[in-house]
């Protein structure tokens, strides 16, 4: 069993501030972290590797310094890491990103399962996983809250959808996107950290993947961000002050307003 986990380096959006005068994001000094959802994808991969044997390879596409999230994944338990990086990949949207990652999975050759986190916290698109599946022409199970089993060339998983749980079975190879409900990610281990510091991580560029610049990066991206604005923050909300009794009476009025009228 070889499981590839596609991860992303993201800015810690909790640390992003807005320049109040210009209305732009201040990203300077904002730490770059492993996308939190990806920790769950990694944990799911580790669990099945530990149970079934095999290896977990962690992949990311990004600038050279995105390598740090790969080392973090190795510290948690990934066996191998692979950086997909090239100037030609810069500015990619989800189409071009998934196209490039799928080419890397194809080049790896013997991958049985690709796992991604549900979404990345910077873009929040949740599109890369299914797009990788489309590029590979593999089946997909998205929004997985629980993987029940992997056996006989199939994966059985629970999709958490509106109003309930769909129990879905898919043949392998397949792409799965993981929700936070699926597991509790392990912490990095000391041995993992020591391994991560020393590991040589290969970098594959556009020539390694045999792609055309027209299908990667900004040139290969059908969508583009044209404007960025800050959401309206002003509120003309009404503030209530007073004794707890007074406040409770007003709140009860608000909550029961429709019932009573």
């Amino acid at each position: 069993m070889r499981i590839a986990v596609a991860v992303k380096q993201v800015p810690d959006t909790a640390e992003v501030r807005i320049d109040p005068e210009r209305g732009t994001l201040i990203r300077e000094g904002v730490p770059s972290i492993l996308n939190p959802f990806d920790e769950y994808a990694l944990e799911e991969a580790f669990r099945w590797r530990d149970e079934l044997g095999g290896t977990v390879v962690v992949i990311t596409m990004g600038p050279p310094w995105a390598e740090s999230v790969l080392r973090e994944a190795v510290a948690m338990g990934a066996d191998e890491a692979l950086l997909i990086s090239d100037r030609a990949f810069a500015g990619a949207d989800t189409w071009a990103t998934s196209h490039t990652l799928a080419a890397a999975v194809t080049k790896l050759g013997d991958v049985d399962l690709v796992i991604t986190g549900k979404q990345a916290i910077d873009g929040d698109t949740a599109q890369t996983g299914p797009s990788i599946a489309a590029s590979l022409d593999w089946p997909q199970i998205t929004f997985v809250g629980k993987v029940r089993s992997i056996e006989d060339g199939h994966i059985l998983a629970e999709r958490y959808v509106e109003g309930g749980i769909e129990v879905v079975r898919s043949s392998l190879p397949a792409v799965v996107t993981i929700l936070k409900d699926a597991n509790t990610p392990r912490l990095p281990s000391l041995r993992g950290k020591m391994k991560a510091r020393k590991l040589e991580i290969p970098t594959w560029g556009i020539d390694d993947l045999g792609l055309d610049p027209a299908e990667t990066g900004l040139d290969g991206s059908p969508t583009r961000v044209v404007t960025i604005s800050t959401p309206e923050t002003s509120s003309d909300g009404e503030m209530h002050r007073g004794t707890p009794e007074e406040l409770a009476a007003v709140l009860a009025d608000l909550l029961l307003g429709e019932e009573e009228s």
Binding site: R186, L187, P188, S189, L190, R191, G192, K193, M194, R197
Partner: protein, 390 residues
């Protein structure tokens, strides 16, 4: 202060801090309230390879990566203590239990026990104290009488940290009652050995997440090969163990104090009285400044001793006692001041500082009371003076 920790020691600190933040802080109030041993957290520590940091690679640990293990143990213990003194003691007592094997056991014994302790498959505890043998190890009454290729143990050990939770116990018992302290020997006793049972579980003032229990030996037969280092060597094994572990107690104290300072500084920056943040008052500022200074001094001394041990020093009894005394007195002072800064809130269980104050107290008492430590320091000083040395 930057202690220029190596990359490997930084790894330990980062991992332990993450364990502390993600697992210990959310659980500490409940563990304290319920007097409950943190089994799940010990499992997380084991999975993160933190239990083997002072054990050599050939026995399943990673000590070489940290240039020994004393400094590694100090860094880990401090981080855990910062979150919860009780959980940290469970961790440190495991190392204490393993220490006699690590320091004095035969290779065969090390091979048999250390890998399981490094991986966390088993936990360890050190059993010296008895009702009549506290500061005076010579008062040990538990007997180990040779019977063919076995020893038969009889007696009761008291206040054994990790008692009832550990699977491997290093026990100090009398093999020759006529020789007093020189008649003591060290043994490895495994859980489940017939005649070995657990007695009373203590209800403590602080470090309540740690298990403190009686060990009862009633005609408990253990194989003679479980004797560590030979008959009559028990007192030396115990003293070496305690000398090695004292920087660990100092680290507990530093960690507890740091946790209390963190809470006090945070509270002081948020609490407003008379229309301003209370950390704008000089009375509070000076308290915080003193707390921070004392902690830094305690940490510097503790790290120095740990680094000395890792560097291969043979004699560190005096400085190890100094670190323990100084850091534990600092912990008591700082946690008390932290409660003071939080005022009425500090006295309530809703905030963690009252627990830190309770946890701090034990560091002045156990593994040799601070009075005994001072006696050790003074006696070393007197000897040095007599020898005309430094």
């Amino acid at each position: 202060m930057d202690y220029y920790l190596s990359d490997e020691l930084t790894d330990i600190r980062d991992i332990c801090r993450e364990i502390a933040e993600k697992y210990i802080v959310p659980a500490r109030a409940e563990l304290d309230e319920e007097n409950r041993f943190p089994r799940e957290i010990m499992k997380v520590m084991a999975d993160s390879d933190i239990l083997g940091i002072y054990i050599p690679e050939e026995f399943g640990g990673t000590a070489e990566a940290f240039g020994g293990g004393a400094m590694a143990l100090s860094v880990a213990t401090e981080e855990f203590s910062r979150a919860c003194g009780g959980v940290a003691v469970s961790y440190a007592a495991n190392a204490l239990g393993a220490m006699p094997i690590l320091i004095s056991a035969s290779d065969e014994q090390k091979t048999r026990y250390l890998p399981d302790l490094a991986s966390g498959r088993k936990l360890a505890a050190f059993a010296l104290t008895e009702s009549e043998a506290g500061s005076d190890a010579g008062g040990v009454k538990t007997k180990a009488i040779k019977d063919g290729d076995h020893y038969i143990l009889n007696g009761t050990k008291q206040w054994i940290t990790n008692g009832g939770e550990a699977q491997v116990y290093t026990v100090i018992a009398l093999t020759d009652p006529s020789r007093g302290a020189r008649g003591l020997s060290a043994f490895i006793v495994e859980e489940g050995t017939p005649g070995f049972s657990y007695g009373k579980k203590e209800d403590k003032m602080g470090i309540r997440a740690s298990a403190t229990r009686e060990l009862i030996f009633e005609d408990c037969r253990i194989p003679a090969e479980n004797l560590i280092s030979g008959e009559g060597r028990g007192f030396i094994v115990a003293m070496k163990t305690l000398n090695r572990s004292r920087p660990g107690v100092a680290s507990q104290a530093v960690g507890i104090a740091q946790g209390a300072l963190d809470e006090a500084a945070k509270y002081a920056s948020q609490r407003r009285q008379f229309g301003q943040r209370i950390d704008s008052f000089q009375a509070i500022q000076f308290m915080l400044a003193d707390m921070a200074t004392q902690i830094e001094a305690a940490r510097a001394l503790t790290y120095s001793v740990a680094r000395m041990i890792d560097a291969g020093a043979k004699k560190y009894e005096k400085v190890s006692a100094m670190a323990k005394v100084f850091a534990s007195d600092v912990a008591m002072k700082v946690t008390t001041d932290a409660v003071q800064i939080l005022g009425g809130y500090g006295y309530m269980k809703e905030y963690p500082v009252e627990k830190m104050m309770r946890d701090a107290k034990i560091t002045q008492i156990y593994e040799g009371t601070n009075q005994i430590q001072r006696a050790v320091i003074a006696s070393a000083l007197i000897k040095e003076t007599a020898a005309g040395g430094n």
